[in-house]
Symmetry: C2
Amino acid sequence: MEKHPAGPDGPKKAGDPRRPSVRAPGEALDSPAGSHVEWCKQLIAATISTQISDPALSKVSKRPNLRKFQVQVQLKDVALVTGESVQLRAQDVMYICPFSGLVTGMLTLTDYKLYFNSLEREPPFFLDVNLGAISRLETINVQSHGEDSRGLELVCKDMRSLRFAYKKEADQPELVDLLARYAFPLCKGLALFAFQYQEDFPVNGWTVYDPVMEYKRQGLPNESWALSRVNSSYQLCDTYPSLLVVPTCIPEDDLRRVAAFRAKHRIPVLSWIQRDNQAAIARCSQPLVGMSGKRNKDDERYLELLRETNGTPKLTIFDARPSVNAVANKATGGGYEGDEYQNAELIFLDIHNIHVMRESLKKLRDIVYPTVEESHWLSSLESTHWLEHIKLVLAGAIRVADKVSGGKSVVLHCSDGWDRTAQLSSLAMLMLDSHYRTLRGFEVLIEKEWLSFGHKFASRIGHGDKNHADQDRSPIFVQFIDCVWQMTKQFPTAFEFNERLLATVLEHLYSCRFGTFLFNCESMRELNEVRSKTVSLWSYVHSSSTRYLNPFYTPESGRVLYPVASMRHLELWVSYYIRWNPRIRQQQQSPVEQRYKELLVLRDEYLRKLEELSPSPPSAHMTSPAPPGPAPTTQQFTHLHTPF
Amino acid sequence: MEKHPAGPDGPKKAGDPRRPSVRAPGEALDSPAGSHVEWCKQLIAATISTQISDPALSKVSKRPNLRKFQVQVQLKDVALVTGESVQLRAQDVMYICPFSGLVTGMLTLTDYKLYFNSLEREPPFFLDVNLGAISRLETINVQSHGEDSRGLELVCKDMRSLRFAYKKEADQPELVDLLARYAFPLCKGLALFAFQYQEDFPVNGWTVYDPVMEYKRQGLPNESWALSRVNSSYQLCDTYPSLLVVPTCIPEDDLRRVAAFRAKHRIPVLSWIQRDNQAAIARCSQPLVGMSGKRNKDDERYLELLRETNGTPKLTIFDARPSVNAVANKATGGGYEGDEYQNAELIFLDIHNIHVMRESLKKLRDIVYPTVEESHWLSSLESTHWLEHIKLVLAGAIRVADKVSGGKSVVLHCSDGWDRTAQLSSLAMLMLDSHYRTLRGFEVLIEKEWLSFGHKFASRIGHGDKNHADQDRSPIFVQFIDCVWQMTKQFPTAFEFNERLLATVLEHLYSCRFGTFLFNCESMRELNEVRSKTVSLWSYVHSSSTRYLNPFYTPESGRVLYPVASMRHLELWVSYYIRWNPRIRQQQQSPVEQRYKELLVLRDEYLRKLEELSPSPPSAHMTSPAPPGPAPTTQQFTHLHTPF
């Protein structure tokens, strides 16, 4: 008989926790940390020399009798979007899949995507990558048996890396050159693909956010707050929106003096106001205190004015930074509000800066791609600190929401007020205002707090730029979306949109197909005519908005959400960060969701029949059998009628 | 203004991730690991000397004008079960709550529970403990201001510890003596409370499991397998059930010779068989190979017989242990199947023994009670290895289920075959057979694989026994229930029962209110007339079974469940292990569940109205609007009509 007693292999093999025959095909390759790139080059070189240069092997892997048919089918398979054009096709390219091994097929490069497909496998193998998601390109050349071969690695911004190997044909243009041209167009002085893409959608996403309408929804202007045009041509602050909300009684000259004392001229302005108690969230950048401890009477008076708008006894200034960082910022002219600010308290929220967040996500990537660290998963995850950072951001936003909900006005800032400040204001607003938890409201939230207030998307993401080591890059917006996901998990009926919307937003954060996330601020988007020359992501979303709706959604307009910001209640967003790994179950519809939708269909069917049969309309009666609790109102039923 | 700049306290306070004013009342006390008992004694002593002996303080805390009223209300509050009687009442007892501080009230001791309630708080404070859940009692006496005071700690089997302090009244019996008497009745030669408890329920839970009916459901006996009475008076194996399923062709004398070669005479017998391919799960204990490598021809022939019943080419023997432990067992006469077993393969599943599991749960307790380790939660959790053990048990059961599903018969054992073997057989059966995923089927599974096959509940739990350090104790059954919970999380529509059932089973695993989990094996339960003298837990469950039903349940009779046994898909069962902590949200009904139930009610209401209005019965039409997929059949609708 076979047995596996004690020994070097026995117990290890026997105790293999993976299922013996039910597991996903193939074994993942090990990626020794630290020597990633070197290791990859060696692997590609080895692959090239054994697979491409050995005529016997290549015959087997190419299945020559299939090739003609293959090419035809593959050409059909690649469905291009309007404005996208093929730049290169290459046969017999090998994709070195970390999950299922080598696969040979055809690579198609367009100005928007790289596609790879192969009929070697059943079902056919297919993958594509948005060129905008490529962070860097690594290549290696190998001379073997007199042939010129290439290895190519695409390191992506979306957690994965793709490795290809192919023979260099003398008459073909260099794949890597073309790839670099379309992945990093800005380096060649070319336009981003969004300026090429010209699809028509029934809804114009650029109309989703109208600041005047949004402030009107909040009850503004009113006797205390005015809509100001002081920045109409971005003359006060070039990274702020043209429309600002400031106290009614402040003269424009005073605002200009305040601007001189705030980093990048980002003065405190209103972002959101609570109707019933008039408590406001104002956002800004740090005061320019410096080493000498400079004061600015106008700034002090201005904050006092903000406080007085609703008679908050003490204005709370939330400084998102760890206090040591705030102190250190004095050395470069920044700082924080000191004792000279009367009737104010300052609270540090201990959230780290863009560099710490970037390194944290890098570490997360290291433990999930290509292989997921299994034996010490929990401590490995902890060592990335990713969830710890998520916790601190959420905890900070909860403190903001709690103050405002209790009737106290607050001021938020970090250093420049475009990263951590945007996270805090938008998350607090999501907790406080159920409108932002609808699909359209969430789009408005992103347009307002992130885009119009100048979160530097171009610098943080590096659209079309090959400088992958740029210290300005950081996944601050990804972190925000992760926080939103954590909230949707804790409140599964509170959001009109689903996880797919969040993943779609993140896909197009990188893709450069839509104009939405391009450039650093409103003034730059205006200068580059983004609204007229590109398509908005929201046009695309609304063209099939039912895909992004949460069937469990139950509107509760007055409810403030307080998520639990403790490690025990936070989860890694596996279906996003580990989505490339076939062993992680696909982001499939949950059976509970499926059952729920079936029930909705059934209920609606019965209701329709009842309406046909009954002489009197049953709609008045309809809500009566529902049990007490969050009673289904007519409004809810309207929602539930949405077809899925 | 107030501010919190850099400094020893500032940033820490500012960055406190807990919500400032929304959090649960009070602060948890720190419990330095390792010196737990000593620390507790000191705390109780300090409490006694400051609170009880200080007349000024005690006046305040006692609220004398409330006391008379308090006593009356409290007496009413304690609702006793049939057969339960009050043994002692004590006033002015202080409960030292680790979450909300000191609270003074009345303690009531019965022969079943300890109750404590206080009207000092709004709403009134109340707690109770099943005496069966008490693992050990720690006391401390303090002489202070000439008064005799006591401190008392109840260390429980269910993760919590309770601390009380009170003044010793000369005329009262000693609380701790009475407590010990009813918590550890076996040490005084008294009966367990289950023999006192005499509630009548409409369903007799003792009839839930009828082995003949259960084997009949599996299609047994048949031409290959017979129901044998060889153990009818427990003469072959005193820890096995009286009814065994063995191959038809084996003479009883052969079985006795096999028994001589298996630890505790636990011979391989059938537990479950798959109807379509006749693949069987057989369970047993280890072979008595010993250091000299003894063989037993009867045992070898017997396993060959098992294999032949369905023509499995190679019988798979799953040894649940790590291979090194299996080897080490040879020194005490045990061991594992060697090369002499023809047509068999042996696979070790690397699951650790009862001692390792006990220590793991102890470590888990240390990080969750009373305070939950927050700053290094993930690595602390990892260091307990609890989820790692859960993973290995589940992974082992998956391998078993996969073999059997593929038509191969298997034999399972560990050392004695009553701990890990029961886990593997019952979990594999739960994966393979949807009947066990119903409420009644799950009860049958526990009755069959755990109770009738002699999992030593009395020794593992230590019912009524004060020897808390007994090395025989271990949470093996708790671990099994945890594995079931993990499966319910991964397959939310596959189980008829809900999380509350699992928590209820665990509560009464310790409570000694029902006879179900008492004694070590069937023969002992028979000897002690458990069926006639005590009530079954299942009588209680079926008296309000709707409380334990999962509204999302969708029967799928043929489906084999393969949970993912990877760390990324396992969760700590927070609502069980951390249920005493008020900061952990109560195990409340999820809003999605609430919405679902509302929809069910609404649909049924419409259906009823349709039936009233429509001349023809709409039931035939009813299923048509449902989308394809797991189609709602009539059977499902019957289930969904269950009132909630």
